[in-house]
Amino acid sequence: MNNAKIFIAAFLVNNIILMRFIGLCPFFGVSTSISTAVGMSAAVLFVMLLAAWVSWVLYHVLLFPLGLVFLRTAVFILVIASLVQLVEMYLKKYLRNLYSALGIYLPLITTNCAILAVTFFNINYKFNLLQATIFALGTALGFALVIILFATIRERLEDAPISPAFKGYPIAFIGAALVSLAFMGFTALFGIS
């Protein structure tokens, strides 16, 4: 797979949220307003790239050569948890506005399936470091695209007349169903499966 195809696959065809169902909790939690969606996407992009690099290096330099592949779950998640803590401290000191905008979402990135999933995919697809970077970048941008698009939809839904049983999550899910249906149109784009 050449690099462009890896990117398109991660960004659109196998979009992490709408096609793979990974990263749903922040998807529904943060997409209520565009500003939080943008902030969350930025944080996810940053953490995802760093996590992809550190975990790739740890796997190929330590885990695999030492035959300790079975430790990858624990190692990857520990790395991600620490990275998130570091990002949180950095934001608190240097980017106060973003820090107060993201509030409780930062620790939530730790349990964000998307980041852990990317680290696993990098191993399963046997990417080299460059390919892993492109994959992480494509995934993070795909995440950002969907979350921000969906935020615009949800902001409209706020004022729409919806029956009480459907208010909140149900109508958001159904909205996501429709967006996901649209994204299915990207299947087999450029011959990617």
Binding site: F21, T110, F173
Partner: protein, 202 residues
């Protein structure tokens, strides 16, 4: 079984009133991804239940030894231990299920339900209570996973657990929408609306 009133409620609250997926709205990723058929949903439910119950018990057992500031990494290590166990057990004994569930087995470690219960419950309660809480929540989300899987398989394939239930005419051209991602979102939206209408958790 304990008949202490609050003990029993730990068990039963997880099934309806505090159903993790339909009321607390956590643990959504596996719910939508792994419920293409009833068997997959059930398999995922069992795997995650194993991790939830075991980690609840262990964390409750060691809770007095764990200082507050490092508790999250400790929880994560305990949970990832059990996830690794179930990962390799499934690879060995249920390889086709493992192939279908794919990356979602190791992703159990970041399932909000498990870390959430560890933090909110197991860290502050005794072993039996934590076991009951874990069991209750497991039944809760396990049933949702099974129901979702069954419904999606029924509409998308005409079968449940591979038993044909709908007439052949339907099964030759079923509603594929149910099997694909949009169908999953749609179905859980309807389920949640139904739960809202019935007033669960209020």
């Amino acid at each position: 079984m304990n008949n202490h009133p609050s003990r029993l409620s730990y068990l039963t609250s997880g099934i309806i009133k505090e159903n993790p997926i339909l009321i607390l709205m956590i643990g959504l990723c596996p719910t939508l991804a792994t419920t293409v058929t009833a068997r997959d949903g059930l398999g995922m439910g069992v795997a995650a239940s194993f991790v939830l119950i075991c980690s609840n018990v262990v964390i409750s057992a060691i809770r007095r030894l764990v200082p507050d500031s490092v508790r999250i990494p400790i929880f994560i290590i305990v949970i990832s231990t059990f996830v690794t166990i179930i990962d390799y057990v499934m690879q060995a004994y249920q390889p086709d299920l493992y192939r279908v569930l794919g990356v979602f087995v190791p992703l159990i470690v970041v399932n909000c339900i498990i870390l959430g219960r560890a933090e909110a419950f197991a860290y502050h309660h005794g072993i039996i209570d934590s076991f009951l809480d874990g069991l209750g929540k497991s039944i809760g989300f396990g049933s949702v996973l099974f129901v979702m899987g069954a419904l999606r398989e029924l509409f998308g394939n005409g079968t449940i657990l591979n038993y044909p239930l709908l007439p052949t005419a339907y099964r030759t051209s079923p509603m594929l929408f149910a099997i694909f991602p949009p169908g999953a979102f749609f179905l859980i939206g309807l389920l949640k609306a139904l739960v809202n209408k019935l007033g669960w958790g209020r």
